[in-house]
Amino acid sequence: MSTVTQVRAPHTSGARTTPGSGRRRAARREAAFGYAMASLSLIAVFVFTAGPIVASFVLALFKWDIISSPEFVGLRNFQTLVHDQTVTKSLAVTLGLAVAIVALQVGLGLGLALLVAQRTSKVARTIFRTAFFLPLLASAASISIVMSYLFDQHFGVINYYLTMLHLPAVSWLSSTGGATATIVLVAVWQQLGFTFILFVAALGAVPPDILEAAKVDGATPARLFWRIKLPLISPSVLFASVVGLINAMQLFDQPYVMTKGGPGDATYTTVLVVYQTAFQNLQFGYASAISVLLFVVLLLITAVQFTVSRKWVFYS
């Protein structure tokens, strides 16, 4: 007969009965604290972002003018969409504008960042950084007011200087091509600071010894750029294009203030269509379908960008 003596771990409070339950209770307390801390954000995200995304897909299956009760129409909104020239044209217009804007934004931002990287004077760098960042501080809507004065065909400052340089005055806002160009220029002007700062930071992270070694080996500035700098900053280029495209595809403020989508429907962007369909024509179901379509298009574009990026983005 053997007596087995059980040794109990000393406890400070009287409530524990089994070893480990204290740890479990502590873990539960920690979890409760975690949920509580994250609750405000989570509730807000679910109520105002995640929920509405789902709701948007559901709403697209209805016909609703807010006054009468919603009518379930299944996929009919989408069937109408595909044949709706206003919508399809707006997608083409928006895509065209977005590609032009992003190409210029990234190209010019990168070019300017490269030029600034050569300036060693800190004062000069701060001045240029401030100058290029200034447009970002203004609201797209109020800047569009200013721009519509500057681009005015007869009284605008831009045409004035063009004619001074013996170039033809452009009918900026009253012609199809002119209006498109105006929107692109205004959007690029404003967003330039963003890509500029991004690329200045990225170029700053390029290790100088690699550049030095290449220069010693006789690399030309062009070689330095294409073979070394560009690959090393390619993740930033990808980021700038993805974010830039998503933002540009949602262009609203500038066409709303400057052209109202015109002349005709030359600058009638898709978000402008969604806005008018929902809040002026009171077709909430149909507008939701359009916004769902735009969302899917954005997802596709982003997916394509990421897939293509595998070929040219270099992750060190």
Binding site: E30, V47, I53, S56, R119, A131, L136, L137, F239, F284
Partner: protein
């Protein structure tokens, strides 16, 4: 150097034009060649902007709405960023993944359902309708979590051993160390919402509730060919707080842009 200077001049030109034209009499606004430096600045345009037009109301609305949004985002994002970085609770990976996913969703996708929700809550045409949906700071949570992840856990663990509660560890230790990311978040949130036009256009109807960008655009329609100087004075006034904040907190703007790219 020359290219950079020309580019800088071209970029700043529209704003410079707005400032200089706001200081001219309405009749001379469109004089060509434009006088870049006004010879007789008409400062009264600015006081007229406040008298003739509800500019003070627009400013007040913008200050209140943006201020509440920034405060709301700071509070909720710091707390949730901390929770996701430093606290263990079940399902946190999945929940954070959902938050991350919503970061990618464009505003236009959620605007109609949010509008309907606001309407259902009876909040249409209220400034609160602008604040509440904006407190859902997915990006803010992401940003704060990034920063908290880089902080040493030993500080908190030591405090816990000494008997500190979870809340005390957060409020007394980690929150105090988070000034830099909070400043970045505050600056970015301010920049995103001070200049907003789309949501105010949709949610607000009474002009006395308009925020600055919406108010200025509505002025333009009302005045038509009227006082350009006053509208421009409004545009310049709207720009001033942003320029001041940028001057004071430049590095936080830059950090914000760079931080966003590390996704």
């Amino acid at each position: 150097m020359l290219v950079l200077t020309i580019a800088a001049v071209l970029v700043v030109a529209p704003i410079a034009w707005a400032v200089s034209t706001s200081l001219r009499t309405p009749a001379t606004s469109f004089d060509l060649p434009p006088h870049w430096i006004p010879t007789h600045p008409v400062w009264s345009n600015y006081s007229a902007a406040f008298d003739k037009v509800p500019l003070a109301t627009f400013i007040l609305n913008s200050v209140v709405v943006t201020g509440l949004i920034v405060a709301g985002q700071l509070i909720t994002s710091t707390m949730s960023g901390y929770a996701f970085a430093m606290v263990r609770f079940r399902g946190q990976k999945a929940l954070f993944a959902i938050i991350l996913a919503t970061m990618m969703v464009p505003l236009q996708t959620t605007i109609i359902p949010v509008f309907l929700l606001i309407r259902y809550l009876g909040l249409t045409d209220s400034r609160l309708s602008l604040v509440l949906p904006a407190v859902a700071g997915a990006f803010g949570t992401f940003l704060m979590r990034q920063y908290f992840l880089q902080m040493p856990r030993e500080l908190g663990e030591a405090a816990r051993v000494d008997g500190a509660s979870h809340w005390q560890v957060f409020s007394r230790i980690y929150a105090r160390l988070a000034f830099a990311p909070m400043a970045t978040l505050a600056v970015l949130t301010y920049a995103a919402y001070w200049n907003e036009f789309f949501r105010p256009l949709i949610f607000l109807q009474t002009s006395s509730k308009f925020t600055l960008p919406l108010g200025l655009v509505s002025l333009q329609g009302y005045f038509g060919t009227g006082s350009v100087s006053i509208v421009l004075a409004g545009v310049v006034i709207a720009l001033i707080p942003s320029v001041l904040i940028f001057a004071a907190a430049q590095r936080y703007f830059v950090e914000g842009i760079v931080a966003g790219s590390f996704r």
